[in-house]
Each structure stands twice: as structure tokens, then as C-alpha cells.
């Protein structure tokens, strides 16, 4: 184990790190690596690097490695980490900020997560509501997971859980404009 000066390392990666920090409101130096977050995290066991590791990598300035991790995309924002963190560090907000940083530059480390978000929002933009059947079909086609949940479709159909009542908001055109403008970065707020 070598010695490292956190302040110096942080400066080296100041660009991306400060952008992610500002967007999430998290100061990674506040973390003292107690590990309560990862201990309670439901996806830590299947993650490449757990949430404590993500913060550690940011502390030592290895932003490049963080931007290739699956962990920020696996995060469910379930909030166990934040509820137990003695420093009240908002890890879900940090993970969200990392995902957004990657998407903005077209370098999302997990294409499924980004595809799901985009297909979902396309759907809402077009109809004002989310059509779950359409969402699953388009997602499977676009990501190549053709047979995912296919076995469940007839089970859902026979229970009357797929059809829906066809509700569409009267103000769907307003929703379309609002969602479109925000996604294109032209929302009403600065």
C-alpha cells in the first residue's frame, strides 16, 4: 500500500470529477470508507466494484475506471446506503450523476440501462403515458434480448394484465412538447 495525497490526485481529475460532484452535490472526500453502504446494498454482490469502491476510485482520481463501471447503472436508488451512511453521502445521486455524465458523451458503460431509459421516454413523449407491452417489445428488439420475459407474456395476457384501458391524456400534445424540450435541453428552467 502506497501513500497518496487525495488533494493532489483530485486536482488531476478535476474536470470530470468536479462536474459529477457538482451535479450530485456529493463531496467524495467526506467518505471515510466505513462500508455500511456496500454492506446494505442489494446489488453489491453482483457489481464489478461496489458503491464504496466507486467512491474510493473517485477519491484517488481514477475517473476513467469509474466511467467504465457497471455499478452506477446497477444502482436501484433504493436508498439503503444513504439511510445508513454516517456522513449522509447521497450515493444514489452520485451514481445518477455518473450515468448522466456518460450518456451526455455517448460512452454509457451499460447500453441496456441507457436503451431502457430512452425507449421509456420515447413512449411517454409519444403518448403521455407508458405502454408496458410496447416498452418490453421495443426494448427486446433494440437490445437483442429477444426472448426476455416472453414466457411471462401469455401468463400476463390470461390474467388480463396486458391490454390496459387505452387511456391517453387529453393534453398529450403538451406532454410531448414538454418532454421533447427538456430532452433536447430546451426546458423552461435555466
Amino acid at each position: 500500500m502506497g501513500f497518496c495525497n487525495l488533494s493532489e490526485l483530485e486536482e488531476a481529475a478535476s474536470g470530470p470529477l468536479s462536474e459529477i460532484a457538482a451535479a450530485s452535490g456529493v463531496d467524495v472526500k467526506e467518505c471515510y470508507q466505513c462500508g455500511k453502504c456496500a454492506a446494505g446494498c442489494p446489488v453489491a454482490a453482483s457489481a464489478d466494484v461496489d458503491c464504496r469502491g466507486v467512491i474510493r476510485l473517485l477519491q484517488i482520481g481514477d475517473v476513467d475506471r469509474v466511467l467504465k463501471l457497471q455499478m452506477p447503472w446497477l444502482c436501484l436508488s433504493c436508498g439503503v446506503c444513504l439511510a445508513r451512511c454516517p456522513q449522509n453521502i447521497d450515493l444514489p445521486a452520485l451514481n445518477t450523476a455518473i450515468c448522466r455524465y456518460e450518456m451526455k458523451r455517448g460512452i454509457a458503460a451499460e447500453r441496456e440501462g441507457e436503451a431502457f431509459m430512452n425507449i421509456f421516454l420515447d413512449n411517454v413523449e409519444a403518448k403521455g403515458v407508458s405502454d408496458e407491452t410496447m416498452l418490453a417489445m421495443r426494448y427486446n428488439l433494440q437490445t437483442g434480448h429477444l426472448f426476455q420475459d416472453v414466457a411471462n407474456s401469455p401468463r400476463m395476457l390470461s390474467r388480463g394484465l396486458l391490454s390496459g384501458d387505452g387511456y391517453k391524456p387529453a393534453g398529450a400534445p403538451d406532454v410531448k412538447r414538454m418532454v421533447h424540450d427538456i430532452r433536447k435541453g430546451e426546458g423552461g428552467a435555466e
Binding site: 442489494p42 453482483s46 411517454v124 414538454m178
Partner: protein, 341 residues
């Protein structure tokens, strides 16, 4: 009490049984429901992942519509995901006047953040409603052991929700008790079910559901109660997939029905399985409830009642002993008289 209901996109699809059972209970418990006019999707997890603006604007538009139609009437969101998103927009608008104005600009309509946002459990915490439900329970689920499952979005983060505890809430237990069922204590009540990540990351999410089902069974639960269409689907529909994988590993199946808490209330209040949406459940749920209704009621006494019962029993015993002694004293005398004759 009147509520402006925000149905959400799953109300007529994956959450149909929740809608049906909740409506049944509301009709019979004096909960009056309006529908938020011209509501739109809350954005689920996608809106808030895209940006803070989209995360606030999508739910705020529906909240503004509710406010325009019904003023400060509380907005009811049966889905935990909708509840969480609506509350986020509400809290953001309430905590900063600048943010409230920004939100108004984003949605293009006035929004004063006057109305509160509540989840499906909240109406039953009102004492009058709880009393009405209790009085209407004609087919109690006698001693049915229920694991109340909240998931994450109802209870966390603390800054958004109004729940009693982030990791050990008790409000659903209080509501489920009204049916005569007995909630169990267990450790996974606020663990995440995996939500929509079952679509984008199915392999990593299966263990989450498996652990929740296994923990409920380990705690002695015969059934799980949920308060969210997505949680319910992930537990109920995916139980079969998980058991298939367990069978391949040579492990015993995790066999436990999953109900919306409103289905338990409706059934205990006399709703048919169709009225309570129980016929839509993936893990068959009819026979367990029917069996629970035939169970003998075991009345749990308070310590004071137990003491009073002990004293009464001792008094009765003493009286019986006295009577026996008196009878014994009389009997030999009578015997002697008989012998003299």
C-alpha cells in the same frame, strides 16, 4: 376523506388487481375518490435518470392538474414508484421558491404545491377509516401470518417520504391487522425488489426477489402483502421463474402467495375473489384465504386480562374446594346415621 387519485400507467394493466381491490375497499370504507384530470406518466425511473428537470416536470404536471381541479385535496398514488416521483416534485417545489417557479415554467402552468401526496396505505391510518374497515370485516383472516413488504420507494429517502421508519416501518402491519391477520416480524420488508432493472439487468435482480421470498418464509409467513404494482409483479410473477431455477439446483421451491394489502382487506370485508382481483394473482391465492377464514380464533389476552383470568380461575378453584370439603364433612355424618339404623 376525499382523495384525488393519480392512477399511474400500471393501474389498468399490471396493477389491475390493486385498482380493483382498493376500489372495493374504498367504496365500503367511506374513502371518496376523484381522478386527477388529464394525468400523465410520472416518468418512473427514466425521467429522473434523464435529468432533474424531467424528473420534476412529469409528476408536477399531474400535480398541477390535481390542484387546479381539487385545490389542496391530497393526491393519492397507489404505485410506490408514482408516489416517490410525485413526492419528489412536491418536496422540491416546497423547499425552494426558485425551484417552484422553474417547475411552473417547465410545465407551462401554475403550481403552488398546496396538496399533499399520499400512498395507498395512508387513507387507512385515519382512525375513522380504520374503524369502518374493522366494523366491515365480516370474514376475518383468522391468524393468517402475513409478511408486510414495503420495498424501497415508499420509505426512502427520508427527505421525500413521510413514513414512520426508513427500515422498520409498521403502518402496513397496522392496516393488515384490521383483517384479523397476524403480521410477522421480518428483515426484508424494505429491501428493493429490483424494480424495472428486471428488464435491463435480469440476472443481477433474481437474487433480490429470491431473498425476499425466502426471508418471508423463514419468518413464518404464509403470505406476503405488498403496496405497489411493480413490487407485486416482481414477487408474484417471478416466483415461478425462481422456483424453476431452484429446482434445477435441487433446492426446494419457495411457495408463498403474494397479495396487494388491499386484496386482504377486500377479501376480509366480503369481496369475492373476482371483486378482490385475486383471480389475477400468479401464485394461486384463493384457497389460503378461504382456509384462514375457517380457522378458530385464538384471542390474544393483554397482561391485565391474563391476571384477571388467573384470579378468576383461582377463586373458582377455591370455591370448588370449599364445596367439596363441605360435602365431605356432611357425607360421613350421613354415613354414620345410616350405619346406626
Amino acid at each position: 376523506m376525499r382523495y384525488a387519485n393519480f392512477p399511474g400507467c400500471s393501474a389498468s394493466t399490471t396493477g389491475k388487481a390493486y385498482t380493483e381491490s382498493f376500489s372495493y375497499v374504498a367504496r365500503h370504507a367511506g374513502i371518496e375518490i376523484d381522478e386527477v384530470p388529464d394525468w400523465n406518466c410520472c416518468g418512473a425511473s427514466a425521467g429522473r435518470l434523464q435529468s432533474d428537470d424531467l424528473g420534476d416536470a412529469l409528476p408536477a404536471r399531474s400535480l398541477a392538474n390535481a390542484e387546479a381541479a381539487f385545490g389542496d385535496e391530497p393526491v393519492l398514488a397507489l404505485c410506490a414508484g408514482c408516489y416517490s416521483n410525485l413526492r419528489r416534485a412536491l418536496v422540491h417545489a416546497r423547499e425552494s421558491e426558485d425551484r417552484r417557479r422553474q417547475i411552473e415554467a417547465l410545465i407551462g402552468q401554475p403550481y403552488e404545491a398546496k396538496a399533499d401526496v399520499v400512498c395507498g396505505i395512508d387513507p387507512f391510518l385515519e382512525p375513522e377509516v380504520a374503524q369502518t374497515v374493522k366494523a366491515r370485516v365480516t370474514q376475518p383472516l383468522n391468524g393468517l401470518k402475513v409478511a408486510c413488504y414495503y420495498g424501497c420507494a415508499l420509505v426512502r429517502p427520508r427527505a421525500l417520504t413521510t413514513f414512520d421508519d426508513e427500515e422498520d416501518p409498521q403502518s402496513m402491519e397496522a392496516v393488515v391487522k384490521l383483517t384479523g391477520a397476524e403480521p410477522v416480524e421480518w428483515g426484508s420488508k424494505t429491501e428493493c425488489c429490483g424494480a424495472s432493472h428486471h428488464v435491463s439487468n435480469p440476472t443481477a435482480m433474481k437474487p433480490l426477489v429470491e431473498r425476499i421470498l425466502a426471508d418471508a418464509i423463514d419468518a413464518g409467513a404464509e403470505a406476503i402483502a405488498t403496496a405497489c404494482p411493480l413490487c407485486n409483479m416482481n414477487l408474484d410473477m417471478r416466483e415461478a421463474e425462481i422456483n424453476k431455477a431452484r429446482a434445477a439446483r435441487g433446492e426446494a421451491p419457495l411457495d408463498i402467495p403474494v397479495y396487494f394489502f388491499a386484496q386482504l382487506l377486500a377479501s376480509a370485508m366480503g369481496a369475492s375473489d373476482a371483486e378482490a382481483g385475486i383471480t389475477r394473482n400468479f401464485v394461486p391465492g384463493s384457497s389460503l384465504l378461504a382456509e384462514a377464514k375457517t380457522r378458530e380464533v385464538v384471542v390474544e389476552l393483554t397482561p391485565e386480562q391474563k391476571k384477571a383470568a388467573r384470579i378468576a380461575a383461582a377463586k373458582k378453584q377455591a370455591a370448588a374446594r370449599k364445596a367439596a370439603q363441605a360435602a365431605a364433612a356432611a357425607a360421613p355424618a350421613q354415613g354414620k346415621e345410616e350405619a346406626h339404623e
